[in-house]
Structures are given as structure tokens and as C-alpha cells.
Symmetry: D2
Subunit: 139 residues, 4 copies
């Protein structure tokens, strides 16, 4: 059971294409980050606010599956599914064509909360993150 | 007097930032391309349709002025102003904060129409481009 | 037992850094591609030559582990280890500091050979790839 | 008369290509930065050292001319020519094929020295930069 879910729409820009006229595989990392940041923005706890609180959330692991290539101008729906908050923040991503619903890409990231001043990992999620996700789930 | 004008909203993604915590200067080229493609999409003559017609429009010259740095999550309004259609397509770009209207960046591009099959430059603008811009201007 | 191994040196450019003053995690995908292309170049069967032979090798899966952040100007040694050729091309990557040997990053990619004209997957590796890797192994 | 000149070799990576199978125009900004950083590294005054001295050198203006498209694996020679040091740092860039010497691209950047603590522009070049460039010129 997921802790929270969120959807973001992205339109494929021309500069993300490769010589096969499809999105270069490395650019999907950007799409997952846009969607993750939109989720954090939605719950009111963005990277900028984490910084003020003296923490950051670097990505420690990432897995990607490229199912079907996205093309220029295609509207993509990136669904983010928060699967775990502790000890790390685990998010799943599913990218579908925003119109047809066809699945193009899946990914998972694992992020670790790190204290700026000490560089130490923190295995308990910040209250603001927990509460924000709860609110989103119940909304 | 401009041939047509158009505005696009962009939100600064995290991955465009540099160690100064502002947008890395090279990323503004992407913002101008997004805005130019949105303009072409609006008038119904995108890069994909040009390709079908056997032409492309590579950028031959570009000038950029970096006035104030954009930051994470900032909503930018990119105004494209088509200044000339022949012999080349000259577009001016002004990026402002979408809220305050403060100017952050200005640029110009000059693009040349090239025939795919021969690689030759074409100095007369395609009818579809001319008509599309006229429609936009009169709308 | 690996089918072949190869090492490439990369120097971290300024534009790959993020606001934490370290390499943004998505940029490691580029480093793996540089190393993979250098390996293919070494064995004489680059993406350009595959294209002439009517095939391509899109990445179907990728896993990444971010162990320690790379910094500006750091010289990285990217080791590519070919683990499997059929049915897909599986490559492992280990990025170390070129001086100290400290491990910073690990990854795996799985690529599928696809015929351009039909879009069909090919599960037998092309002879040129097999022979090239054998030569490299025995060199 | 130039204040100093320097040359850097770059090999075009696959991920810099666009659907025309040539380098996407915005990627040349990266090549100019690599060359500029190599020049500063050579004279012993890199961005990291400037930061320690409390200054930075953001790009305020940039002009680019795209003469001929660079392709995958092409070895490029980027020549940097320091034209002015005060009030701003003006550098000219010429990219040629490293083998044939054919010119592909030209650019100019204008950078302004800025004090970190105050955000104020400094119109006199730092001594380390002046001396470094003199040494390079006389070497």
C-alpha cells in the first residue's frame, strides 16, 4: 500500500531527443526529478525548504526500465508513488502517454536523508515530510 | 514592428541549477528552444511537420544577455518575438519572472531554412510559416 | 567471468555540478555512455557502424548506485565490464577516483539489439561484436 | 593582440546529438565552458580557487556562430583566446575539426567578476588571473 501518489504532466522538448528521434534514455532521470519535486512542492516541503531545515535527500539508488520510447511533443503523465519513508525515501515512477495511457517507462529511486552540517544519514523521516504525505493521501 | 509574438511559461527544474544555486547559463538555450517550439506548435508548423515537408531550420547565430539569475522553482515567462522571416528566421526572446515581470534574460536567434535532400539554404520562408504567423498576429 | 573489460578516464566538467557542488545524479548516465562508446570504439564496432549494419542497441534497463559524490575537475576512471552478450548486452560499470581508486558509483545496463527496418529484437549478438570483444579479451 | 591563447581537445559524445544526427546547438555552450575551465586550470586559477578568494565570474553575454555541424566521435579542437581582462573577461572561442582544421563554430563570452559576500561587480581583474595569463603568454 502506497503512502501517497501524485501525477505530473510533462511535454517532451526537442533537445531531449537523440539521433533515433526519441528521448535519449538518460533524460528520463530528469522526468523523475521533475515529478518528485512537484510532489514535494505539493506537500509543501521542497528541496529549498529542506535546506533551510539543514537536511538534503540525495538519491542513493535508482532503477529504470525503458518500455517504449517517448517522442517530440508527446505529453507524458508521470505518476509518483511513495512506497516507503524510513529508513530511506522510496519512490516509484510510472510514465504513461497522457492521452492513451500506454506505459513507456518505470523507475524506482531510494533517497537517504542527510544532515548538512555533519554529513550523517538520518533514518527517521522529518515530521514535515510525514505530515505532508499524510495530508496528500487523505486529500 | 514584429511579425508575431507569443508567450510561454516555464518552471525552473532542479537539475538546471549550478553550484551558485542558480540556473547554469547554458540552460537558457533550452528555454529559448521550448518557447520557439511552442510558438511553432501554436501556428501549426512544428519541426516534425517541417521534416515532412523536407525542410529544417537550424540555428545559425545566437546572442544571449544574462541579466539576473533564475532560481529553483521560479516561474518564467518567455516571450518570443518574430522579427524577420526572410532571408532567415530572426526571433527575439525576453525572459521575465512570471509574477513580478522583472527581466532576467534576453536573446536573439537567426535560423536558416535548409532543404533536407540537397542541404541547400532556402531564403524564401515556407508559405505555411508565413500564413501561420499572420494568423497568430491577427488573432 | 567477464567477456571483456575496458577503462576510460573522464574529467568532471563544471556544468555537471548541482547546488550541492557535486555531480547531479542523472549525469552519471552520461559517464556510463561515454565509457560504453569508448569500449565499442576500441573493439571497432561503434553505434555509427551498427547503424550501417541496420541495427541499434537501445538501453532497456539500468541500475545505478551512488556511493560517493564526484566533484569539479575530479578525474574518474570508468571501468566497463561486459558480463553477457546474449540474449541482451549486459554491461557493468564501476567509477573510481582515477588517483586514489576510491569507488564512487556502480551501474548495470541491459541493452537489446533491434533491427532498424522491422523494429524486431535480435537475441543473437552480431558477429562483429562477438569477435571484437574476444580480441579485446585476448589483447 | 590577444592576452593569451590555449587549445583543448574534445570528443563529441553520443548524448550531445540531436535528431539530425549532429550536435544540438545548445551543447556548444558546454564545449566553450570545458575549454575556458581548461585554460583557467592551466594558469592555476580555477573556479574552485576563485571561490576560495571570495569571487566568481558569471557569464554576462555570449554570442555563437554555428558554421558546420559536429558529429558523433568527432575530435574537436577548441581554441580559447583571451581578448580583454578589464573591465570584464572577454574570451573568444574557435572550434575546428582537430584533424582537418575545418572551422565549425565561433563564440565570444563576456564575464564579470563578482564578489561573493556583497554581490558587487569588480572591474579590476584579480592579480592571480593577470599573472597566470602573462605566464601562459610568455610560455
Amino acid at each position: 500500500m502506497s503512502l501517497a501518489e501524485f501525477e505530473t504532466i510533462i511535454e517532451v522538448p526537442f533537445y531531449d531527443l537523440d539521433p533515433m528521434n526519441v528521448v535519449w534514455h538518460g533524460n528520463y532521470v530528469k522526468y523523475t526529478e521533475i515529478a518528485r519535486c512537484a510532489l514535494l512542492e505539493k506537500i509543501g516541503y521542497s528541496y529549498d525548504e529542506m535546506r533551510v531545515d539543514g537536511i538534503m535527500y540525495p538519491v542513493a539508488k535508482m532503477e529504470m526500465k525503458f518500455i517504449k520510447s517517448a517522442v517530440f511533443g508527446q505529453k507524458l503523465c508521470v505518476k509518483t508513488i511513495v512506497e516507503e519513508l524510513e529508513p530511506g525515501l522510496n519512490i516509484k515512477y510510472i510514465i504513461k502517454d497522457a492521452g492513451t495511457g500506454e506505459t513507456l517507462f518505470k523507475a524506482k529511486t531510494m533517497q537517504i536523508c542527510v544532515e548538512f552540517s555533519t554529513g550523517k544519514s538520518i533514518y527517521e523521516a522529518p515530521e514535515k515530510l510525514k505530515k505532508g504525505l499524510e495530508c496528500l493521501k487523505n486529500s
